[in-house]
Amino acid sequence: MMTMDEFRSLFHNGIIKQNTGLVQLLGLCPLLAISNNVINALSLGLATTMVMAASSGAVSGVRHFVPNEIRIPVFVLIIAALVTVIDLAMNAFVHPLYLVLGIFIPLITTNCIVLARADAFAAKNRPLHSVVDAVAMGLGLTLVLIVLGAIRELAGQGTLLSGIDLVFGEASKAFVLHVLPDYRGFLLAILPPGAFIALGLLIAANNWYKARAERRVHAAAPMPA
């Protein structure tokens, strides 16, 4: 079992302290490619979270049987097999969802966060903790993806949530926000350079925020005599 404190610290770690997108800078390939609108970003984030939870759980479950020397090939094998199984199962059993997330699942294999969490955390911790850690990391990534997607979609097309009907059905089309009506579009934001620039700004903002928080702590601490 896990305590509330452990649970909280895992989430704090995954979403803030070691955020994969902003702090660890892992898995940038899909992060930069798919963050051109909010719905794509959300879909990729959730698909990654799902795959990470499954693979971390599996890796943690077999960690006692894997000699240290061959842990990476074994983990890669487990992750690749799991991703393929999830891909096939989704195609067969939840086809509507597959049509939306399907193209993202193979992209996840290029994502090193999955392997990084398997090696850095799941290989040393119990399954429950590993799954919680993977979910927290996945949600941290999802949040960054959504913010990045929102910035790029807003700057690039002047909308938010476009394409929501692909995920939640035709009825949700009304939720698409045309924030800037008659916006002519800003192509750079949609293209890969826009992703690099927006991510750079996000990282800078995050670093500035952390530095300021640290200065405050220093200022509040009594000066040593």
């Binding site: 051109n36 061959i70 199962a89 067969a92």
Partner: protein, 224 residues
């Protein structure tokens, strides 16, 4: 000394066996899942194909069983195909009324774009759909009807409308819209639809020939 080598060998053997066991378990998992999901996936693909045929050729144009009219045609440069592809012949009251062609745009941004093109007996495009592509999500994938209505602009077009020299994207001086930043993809699609019309013009007589009764047997469904 020999005992050290012996220990190292034993260790290598042990890790090798463990790796092998994981590989076997992983392969078994994949084989099992594949075995269980394949019929469902194939069935889903067939149902999709049926629905797709209905989207490129209006149901009012034919009264025959379109799926059963499937024929296999050899690879053809005009269709962009490197493997035999399928076509479906539509008839109304026994008269040839249209055809659905499988075509490939081989010069997409990320490789082949598979198309389904409906053409009526007059040589007018009734509809085009992208059935498979690997274009960049969010950039070139607007050719997919699920993402945007871009592909609808082909309906009603023919060899002469627009004129042959306008069978290009707007950026190249043609009549077909394309989104800025992703012109390679639509360029490939426009070119592929145009050569499919050429293919149609060349083969129209064969399509319109009344099928000999024994030749009308459906070709075995091709998995795509």
């Amino acid at each position: 000394m020999t005992s050290a080598i012996h220990a190292a060998l034993r260790n290598a053997l042990r890790t090798g066996v463990i790796l092998f066991v994981f590989a076997v378990v992983g392969t078994a998992m994949l084989a099992f899942t594949h075995d269980r999901t394949e019929p469902i996936i194939t069935r889903g693909q067939l149902a999709e194909k049926r629905a797709l045929l209905g989207q490129v050729l209006p149901a009012t144009l034919y009264d025959n069983d379109l799926l059963a009219s499937q024929q296999s045609v050899p690879p053809d440069d005009l269709l962009g195909t490197r493997q035999p592809s399928a076509l479906w012949l539509a008839r109304r009251g026994g008269e040839f009324s249209g055809v659905v062609l499988e075509a490939v745009a081989p010069d997409g941004y990320s490789g082949d774009i598979a198309l389904l093109i409906g053409i009526d007996a007059d040589g007018t495009v009734t509809g085009v759909r992208v059935t498979a592509h690997r274009e960049t999500p969010g950039l070139g994938d607007y050719i997919d009807r699920a993402k945007s209505a871009w592909i609808d602009q082909f309906a009603g077009k023919s060899h002469t409308h627009p004129a042959p020299k306008h069978w290009k994207v707007v950026k190249d001086g043609g009549a077909f819209d394309a989104r800025a930043g992703a012109t390679i993809t639509p360029r490939a699609v426009v070119k592929a639809v145009r050569s499919a019309l050429d293919y149609f013009a060349q083969h129209r007589a064969a399509f319109a020939a009344p099928p000999p009764a024994e030749k009308a047997q459906p070709v075995k469904e091709k998995r795509s």
